[in-house]
């Protein structure tokens, strides 16, 4: 009897936690379909805010900025991070502990500190050499900087989980260094690389603080646009954007999970 009560209590606790996490999101999704311009009462179902969304050039521009920034920075971070992760693995006997701490640092650094430093850095370079003024390029560099450690760590941990004799087996079976990379390293890493790409992309699209400090006037990303729009008052249009973003993130999360699971099953 008491066990039953305890179990029911746990179940209740579980649902409370889920509600705490998802209720705010549900409210946003719900009001994005509101036909009235209000976040207080629901007048009826409508897609008018979504319609307005897709005719808002400023917003579409911000969306495209976000996507370009996300794609470009993720690809660059994937290449550099993979090389670092491989290097950390290959030379793991050389006591590279300090390097790993160094790589971790940007992850634990407060975004605001990181953003301001990047801005100051780019501004001084711009003054000295006349390059790297606030633009898409500075944003990409800044994003790559914080994405690299995630990619490097994902790649590194994948390698650490492998039987080290696999590398020797590839050599033994006549694979030249280039062929080893192409036919052994890349295929083995593939699920991890896809997972790392999705994570980098999500981090980039998600980022507000660092983008805010490094963006030029024409480079507002979606979060920057939303922040600006909210200062002018919350509109149901914002709810509609948020709903779309929730959907996109959920799809990305599910994909990342699937690829990670595929990687682990091998």
């Amino acid at each position: 009897m008491r066990r039953g009560a305890f179990k029911r209590g746990l179940t209740l606790f579980w649902w409370l936690t889920i509600a705490f996490l998802y209720l705010p999101l549900a409210v946003i999704v719900f009001y994005s379909f509101n036909s009235a311009n209000s976040a207080a009462h629901f007048a009826g179902f409508s897609l008018r805010w979504y319609d307005r969304l897709f005719h808002n050039d400023q917003l579409l521009g911000a969306l495209s900025n976000s996507l370009v920034l996300g794609l470009a920075s993720s690809i660059v971070a994937l290449i550099i991070g993979t090389l670092i992760g491989y290097g950390m693995y290959r030379h793991r006997s050389r006591k590279l502990g300090w390097l790993i701490v160094l790589i971790y640092l940007p992850i634990v650094m407060p975004d605001i500190v990181f953003g301001i430093s990047e801005m100051a850095f780019f501004v001084s370079i711009d003054r000295q050499f006349g390059v790297l003024g606030p633009s898409l390029a500075t944003m990409i560099i800044a994003h790559v900087t914080f994405q690299i450690p995630f990619v490097a760590l994902i790649v590194y941990s994948r390698f650490v989980g492998l039987d080290p004799t696999l590398f020797e087996a590839a050599k033994d079976l006549y694979a030249s260094p280039y062929k080893r990379a192409r036919h052994f390293l890349l295929p083995t890493l593939k699920p991890s690389l896809i997972a790392a790409f999705f994570l980098s992309f999500t981090l980039s699209v998600d980022d507000f603080v660092i983008s805010f400090f490094t963006a030029g006037p024409e480079n507002a990303t979606l979060p920057i646009y939303i922040w600006g729009a909210i200062r002018r008052g919350v509109s149901p249009e914002i709810n509609a954007i948020a709903t779309l973003m929730i959907g996109a993130v959920m799809i990305a999360a599910v994909l990342s999970l699937l690829f990670n699971r595929q990687g682990r099953r091998q």
């Binding site: 492998l162 039987d163 004799t165 696999l166 020797e168 087996a169 590839a170 050599k171 033994d172 079976l173 006549y174 694979a175 030249s176 062929k179 036919h183 052994f184 295929p187 083995t188 593939k190 099953r265 091998q266």
Partner: protein
């Protein structure tokens, strides 16, 4: 009594026999770091087409030697020749040598078929020939339907076969095997030992096998090299290494326990703590020190002493019944002597019994301490 104990195989009917390669190692030295010496001057000739085993305890340098043959490790000094070609500095992917790794090292991202094809693909063998050769080797190793499976669906024994097929399909000059049976249970192990030896005889390929198990080494090999502390202690066919070990290390490693220090020599009579023993012929002057070995299975127990045999009196202290044979721990002159008798249905001596121990002079072997 001196018949070769390795399995004799006469199957040469298969058409796979090809020109095999000999291996010559000269003065190989390998150090790890400043003072860890793995190989300390190894000279060795491995004949073409022979099943050669590197035997020794862990840390004796056998695996390092194998890795140098594969090209996965470079010697600090010395040269390595395979099939008449100097390959000391040749990287592994340019050597016609393949390895069956202890962990099998099958690629998890590839199917069994793609694993077996890997080496041929890297070598640039055309697709249709690759397919033909993989089918041929799968047939030869009897892989059957396993070829279309995923690697993670295979058992240990199946992985071992796939690893063997993956190496053999490349038709290397030399096949290296790094304790490929150590992860398997005893029954399967015995079965695969016989299969591996048959495969080698049918292909006529040079096999270099690494193990720490002396029984495995004796069953499979044409010749054995016993290593200790980076130095080769003895090289020879199994019966020679087992029956005529050159020193106490080799004798103990081959499983012998009855070793007695030589105290004094008088012609063919040698005194030890066990008692005075007559040898077949007098020891030469330079061999009058060291130890005597009496293999436990040559010791005869019973009231009658055959003509010319050494006779000692002992007491049974312990008896271990092993089915096909019986082991006795005997006390002779206060010294422990182990004797093994084949179980032929004769009377078993109970613990505490006094027995007469007979040893043929021919079976008293001198070796270095």
């Amino acid at each position: 009594m001196t018949a070769p104990s390795s399995a004799e195989t006469t199957d040469t009917s298969n058409g796979h026999v090809r020109d095999a390669s000999a291996i010559a190692l000269k003065n190989l030295h390998k150090r790890f770091g400043r003072d860890a010496i793995a190989l300390d001057g190894v000279d060795l000739d491995i004949h073409a087409g022979e099943f050669f085993t590197l035997l020794g305890p862990s840390g004796c340098g056998k695996t390092t030697l194998l890795r140098i043959l594969a090209g996965l490790e470079a010697p600090n000094e010395g040269t390595l020749t395979i099939g008449g070609k100097q390959v000391t500095d040749t990287p592994p992917h340019l050597r016609s040598v393949n390895t069956v790794f202890q962990s099998y090292a099958l690629f998890p991202h590839l199917s069994v078929r793609d694993n077996i094809t890997f080496g041929l693909r890297m070598k640039g063998v055309p697709a249709n020939e690759r397919r033909r050769r993989v089918d041929e080797i799968a047939d030869f190793i009897k892989l059957g339907a396993l070829v279309e499976r995923r690697v993670n669906q295979l058992s240990g024994g199946q992985r071992q076969r796939v690893a063997l097929a993956r190496a053999l399909v490349c038709e290397p000059d030399v096949l290296l095997l790094d304790e490929p049976l150590s992860a398997l249970d005893a029954g399967l192990r015995t079965q695969l030992q016989v299969e591996l030896r048959r495969t080698q005889k049918r292909l006529g390929m040079t096999f270099v096998f690494v193990t720490h198990d002396q029984d495995e080494a004796m069953v499979m090999s044409d010749r054995i090299a016993v290593l200790d502390s980076g130095v080769i202690q003895q090289v020879g066919p199994p019966h020679e290494v087992y029956e005529r070990p050159v020193n106490a290390f080799v004798a103990r490693f081959m499983g012998h326990v009855n070793l007695f220090e030589i105290q004094a020599v008088e012609g063919a009579r040698v005194s030890t703590a066990l008692g005075s023993l007559t040898m077949e012929r007098p020891l030469p002057a330079d061999q009058q020190q060291g130890m005597l070995l009496i293999r436990q299975e040559v010791i005869e127990l019973g009231p009658e002493v055959p003509e010319g045999y050494n006779a000692l009196e002992g007491v049974v202290r312990e008896r271990l019944y092993r089915g096909s044979r019986v082991e006795y721990r005997l006390e002779v002159n206060g010294i422990l002597l182990m004797a093994t008798a084949s179980n032929l249905g004769q009377r078993l001596y109970p613990v505490g019994d006094r027995v007469t121990v007979s040893i043929c002079p021919e079976d008293v072997v001198r070796l270095d301490a």
